[in-house]
């Protein structure tokens, strides 16, 4: 398990300082995005989104295919520009000037939905080093970051000199995540980062991301189609539908609206569904259940209760 403290940082962020600050790290104001404007394919992908992202929040973004998730998050580091509305990073409009765009790119790290869009160097090493190099770190600092980031995503040293294009799908995904982690971004935005990862990889990388979050106090936004992961890791969930925020709340609040979620093509975690079925069978389960551990404990406490009686 990697400790981010091993990685040399330019300016070590002070966690306390950050948590006390009241201004949101990101503010999205009335964001609208229209693709192919003025053509027969004009498509309004985002319709007046308003959101505030607090420092230190871990947010899961869910929504059906085409609901606007990728469009939304690509605005957060000025990769695409609003048709209307504004994005503020630390209170500053990110699209105000070339300088502010550049700043957003270095402070907000974005992992793309398809890692292929992000890989372009001849070797895995150079690919992961690309961000840190742009930040003008010394070669020694870069080297430490590349190796630590590779370890973070479970990529062995033997792959560092390979071409990133000659890798398996899951290996490419890992390199793409490593490349962004190597920049130690203040806001980490990941678009379906777990797609294509094997189960052990999913668990390890997710735990490492949570470790990064805990150590730095940095905000993290994760687009996911896994209700289980959203329930397990996010403190707050944002549900998009047709380019609008349909729900915004704790996993508990969101998953209590099962019927609406299903109508949107989404679902509740598998264990929540199982709990529902068991209640129908008359098993008196209490509380909200998302995870296997919660279900196990709820059932065992029930059994204990039965035995005592």
């Amino acid at each position: 398990m990697l400790i981010m403290g091993d990685i040399p940082q330019k300016r070590k962020p002070h966690r306390k300082e950050k948590c006390m600050s009241k201004t949101p790290i990101l503010k999205i104001e009335n964001l609208t995005h229209v693709y192919s404007k003025g053509t027969p394919f004009e498509l309004s992908a985002l319709n007046g989104i308003n959101l505030e992202i607090g420092r230190g929040e871990v947010i899961g973004i869910i929504g059906h295919t085409g609901s606007g998730k990728s469009t939304l998050i690509q605005h957060l580091n000025a990769l695409i520009k609003p048709t209307d509305g504004k994005i503020y990073l630390d209170g500053k409009d990110i699209n105000e000037s070339k300088q502010s765009v550049k700043e957003a790119r270095s402070r907000v790290g974005l992992v793309f939905q398809y890692p292929e869009y992000q890989l372009f160097e001849e070797t895995v090493y150079k690919d992961i080093a690309f961000g840190p190099k742009n930040m003008r770190l010394t070669p020694d600092e870069i080297d430490v970051r590349v190796r630590a980031s590779a370890q973070f995503v479970g990529i062995g040293e033997e792959l560092l000199e390979r071409s990133p294009f000659d890798l398996s799908g899951g290996q490419k995904r890992r390199i793409a995540i490593a490349g962004v982690i190597a920049m130690l971004p203040e806001v980490l935005v990941l678009d379906e980062p777990m797609a294509g990862l094997d189960p052990a990889g999913r668990r390890e990388i997710m735990e490492n991301l949570m470790g990064y979050h805990q150590e730095t106090g940095n905000a993290m936004l994760i687009v996911t189609h896994s209700m289980e992961e959203a329930a397990r890791y996010a403190q707050r969930m944002i549900v998009l539908e047709h380019g609008r925020v349909a729900m915004d709340g704790t996993p508990e609040q969101v998953f209590s609206r099962e019927k609406e979620l299903k109508e949107m093509g989404l679902a509740v975690p598998e264990m929540t569904e199982l709990a529902e079925k068991l209640r129908e069978y008359g098993v008196p389960l209490e509380g909200t259940i998302y995870t296997v551990e919660q279900m196990r404990d709820a059932l065992l406490s029930l059994k204990g209760g039965l035995q005592d009686a």
Partner: protein, 284 residues
């Protein structure tokens, strides 16, 4: 012999990474021998880099064995004169749908394979419309595929292979970018292909719940087949699967944990319904 769709016989493969010809590169597939029966639905699991996609690409001669042989419906994939016929009978959905886009318009993209196979144009029209409706992308038929969302691209790629209507379809992680209802749709499509059309289906996936629906599960690790059996036989081997970097469906995981806590339960209640029944018996 007649009822085998895909057969690999001591299939060995390595990529030429090293241009100096250094023979140090390990084999990506090492003497893999499997037979996939016609009309069955087989899931392939394995850690990242275990060789699943490499194996899949051998099934329709996108890659040719460096050792051993692969036959598709009795045809040796090394026989160039059979290439077209092999591609006609074995269709594939790639892991990354971008690698599959060949046209600027969704419906042309979906029509591409059947056109190449010489299907009559009226028949193509029908197949393309059907396929796009099946994956819920009909309303996007005149859009540009490269400008779609991740999940939409994945759906179009699936439509492409459906329009081809091959005897065997190899799906390489087709649901990786899909929302829960999209994942369910794909599993329904696979069910229909297998039970209504008799199509042989090979599904590579990292989702254990999907593999649980297959007739058979093959588990790969470092270029070897390490497990092979019915889902209920494979998924009860919880600890071994964990060691291979894999996992089991959440239902099995729960039953396993309860068992470890001293509750006597069968591990092979894979579906939510089965699992609920078993638990209701114990705790109800």
């Amino acid at each position: 012999m007649m009822d085998i769709a895909i057969k690999t016989d001591n299939l060995t493969y390595f990529y030429n990474v090293d241009e100096t010809g250094d023979q140090d590169i390990p084999d990506v597939l090492d003497n893999v021998s499997i037979e996939i029966e016609k009309g069955t639905f087989v899931a392939i699991l394995g850690h990242n880099g275990s060789g699943k996609s490499t194996l899949a690409k051998h099934m329709n001669a996108l890659l040719l064995p460096k050792g051993g042989t692969v036959t598709a419906f009795g045809m040796d994939t090394k026989d160039e004169s059979l290439l077209l016929e092999i591609r006609r009978r074995v269709g594939m959905v790639f892991q990354n749908p971008d690698n599959q886009i060949v046209s600027n318009v969704v419906e042309e993209d979906v029509a591409f394979a059947p056109e190449n196979l010489g299907v009559p144009s009226q028949e193509i029209r029908r197949r393309v419309d059907d396929a796009l409706k099946t994956v819920g992308m009909y309303e996007f038929r005149s859009h540009a595929p490269h400008l779609l969302s991740g999940g939409q691209k994945q759906r179009v790629a699936i439509a492409g292979v459906l329009a081809m209507d091959p005897d065997c379809i190899v799906f390489d992680e087709p649901t990786a970018m899909l929302d829960p209802s999209g994942r369910r749709d794909v599993m329904e499509i696979i069910h229909k292909l297998r039970y209504e059309r008799g199509t042989t289906v090979v599904l590579i996936t990292h989702h254990m719940e999907e593999a649980a629906l297959a007739d058979r599960v093959i588990v790969m690790s470092d270029g070897h087949v390490v497990m092979d059996g019915k889902p209920k036989e494979v998924f009860v081997r919880v600890e071994e699967l964990d060691e291979l970097g894999l996992t089991v469906p959440e239902t099995t995981r729960l039953l396993f944990e309860l068992k470890n806590a001293g509750v006597d339960l069968p591990l092979d209640a894979l579906s939510i319904d089965e699992c609920a029944k078993v638990l209701a018996d114990k705790f109800g």
